[in-house]
Amino acid sequence: MAMQVKERPVPNGVVLELTGDLTYANREQFKTAVEAIRQKGCRHLILNMSEVRFVDSSGLGLLALVSQNFKLGQGKVSMLKPQSYVREIMSLANIQKLIPVYDNEQDALASQQRAA
């Protein structure tokens, strides 16, 4: 399934609403969208995963890559509401160690303020 990305500014960050599959086939689209946000100087990227059905091994790698790139610019990446299947894949690879997972946007935003 193709992926749609929609970007929404929030205080001190950007929420990226993802719809579809985060997979090998959609890697360029995801990378381009995230890179554009990072280049604009965003310090906190919040990936809303609530409409993502599937993440494959390439998708996992991209999440790790995005998290590393934001960290290099003193930024951070958070994840919002992954579906249970995606959550399971993430936890098998321990991704939450790199990208904290939140169940609502307020908590994700609050984490940034604490960090700052």
Partner: protein
């Protein structure tokens, strides 16, 4: 001016038109006209010799009479369209009675265009030129396709050669240490795989075993796998890690193999079998395909949630120790073995794999390894795995010192 017109004629003259018509007057008249237009013309007096000429000369355009004895125009077209070598020929069908139904029948049976025998000189010129134009485009397409096919063959030969190299890196099955038997199966999805496994002989009854899976598709994962397996050679590990401890090895490999710029990485399990102390030690990095089947029947998946290699340079991978006894079997595998979908998309899954292996009971390890692959193939309904499949089975035989 005359010189220009001669040049033009010379240019068009390279194009060949075949005229198939049993009626000499019409054929000769048309041939004369086409020659005046600068085309090279071949004449055939009936359908059979027309087909021979078509095969022999491969003309740019064939002008065909409808009414002919034995093979008539439409039958001629049908034969051409059924012949893989001729089917792209451009055919212009001539007829004296151009009823719409007849035209439709002629087109349906394989003609590309129609020309009335009563057509004006201008119409004949225009239709012949249009046919030649189409023929030129088709020929160009055929040339490009042929070129692509030749290049594809070269690439495939190179991939096969690379695949043979990767397979030459795999360990030989058999007794890998006194009291330890190893069997494996390897089914790369594209001929050239990103999954790799091997054994490291530490000496003194100690053996290292690993199975790694490079993310991504195609040539790049295979190159990266070969590179990591070079890192995991005995001499290199002694030099760079200075220890046979699986956790220390993965902690160092994690530093040496960061994410690629495309976000590609490895998952891996590294195990150490120490026959002196009957200990199996292992560490995993994002790899979920490993389990121990004890002689007692206990089944233990050796998974723990942790990061794949390259995700975070500060990760410390931890070693887990298990005691082993004669008859215990260790299996290392890639997720490609159980993540195979059936026709409805349902994955075979770890549970069914476990059930299958339990079902084999104490049957010889070689049968279990081959049988598990067969069962996955049965589930998906075909031989071609969507992802690389590697399975290594290791048994601590009863005859341990």
């Amino acid at each position: 001016m005359p010189s220009t017109s001669v040049e033009q004629t010379a240019q068009v003259a390279r194009q060949t038109v075949l005229i198939v018509d049993d009626e000499p007057t019409a054929r000769i008249a048309l041939a004369a006209r086409l020659k005046r237009m600068g085309y090279r013309v071949i004449e055939a007096v009936d359908g059979k010799s027309g087909l021979d000429a078509l095969r022999r000369e491969r003309p740019d355009l064939t002008i065909l009479d409808w009414m002919m004895p034995e093979i008539d125009g439409p039958s001629f077209c049908e034969r051409v369209r059924q012949d893989p070598e001729l089917l792209t020929s451009q055919i212009l069908m001539m007829t004296s009675h151009d009823q719409p139904e007849q035209i439709a029948e002629g087109l349906a049976r394989g003609a590309d265009d129609f020309l009335s025998k009563a057509a004006s000189k201008y119409e004949i010129t225009a239709r012949v030129q249009s046919g030649i134009r189409a023929a030129t485009l088709i020929r160009r397409l055929e040339d490009a396709t042929g070129e692509i096919r030749r290049k594809q063959e070269v690439l495939e030969r190179e991939l096969q050669s690379a695949a043979r190299y990767v397979e030459s890196l795999l360990p030989a099955p058999g007794i890998v240490l006194p009291g330890v038997q190893m069997v494996h199966a390897y089914r790369p999805s594209l001929g050239l795989g990103g999954d790799l496994f091997n054994i490291v002989s530490w000496g003194d009854g100690v053996l290292g075993l690993y199975l790694l899976d490079a993310s991504g598709h195609g040539v790049s994962p295979a190159l990266r796998s070969a590179s990591l397996s070079t890192f995991l050679r005995r001499g290199n590990l002694l030099r760079h890690v200075g220890s046979t401890d699986p956790g220390s090895i993965l902690t160092e490999a994690n530093k040496q193999f960061p994410l690629t710029e495309d976000g590609n990485y490895f998952t891996i399990i590294f195990a150490r079998l120490d026959m002196r102390t009957r200990t199996l030690s292992y560490a995993t990095a994002g790899h979920n395909g490993a389990f121990l089947q004890r002689a007692s029947g206990e089944f233990r998946w050796m998974t723990r949630p942790n990061l794949p290699l390259g995700f975070d340079a500060s990760t410390v991978y931890v070693t887990t120790d298990l005691t082993i006894a004669p008859g215990d079997r260790l299996y290392l595998l890639s997720d490609g073995l159980y993540e195979v979908p059936d026709a409805s998309g349902e994955l075979w899954g770890q549970d069914r794999l476990e059930e299958t292996i339990r079902g084999f009971g104490p049957r010889p390890l070689t049968e279990v390894v081959a049988g598990s692959i067969e069962e996955a193939i049965r589930w998906q309904g075909h031989e071609q795995f969507p992802d690389d499949v590697a399975l290594m089975g290791v048994e601590v035989t009863a005859a341990v010192v």
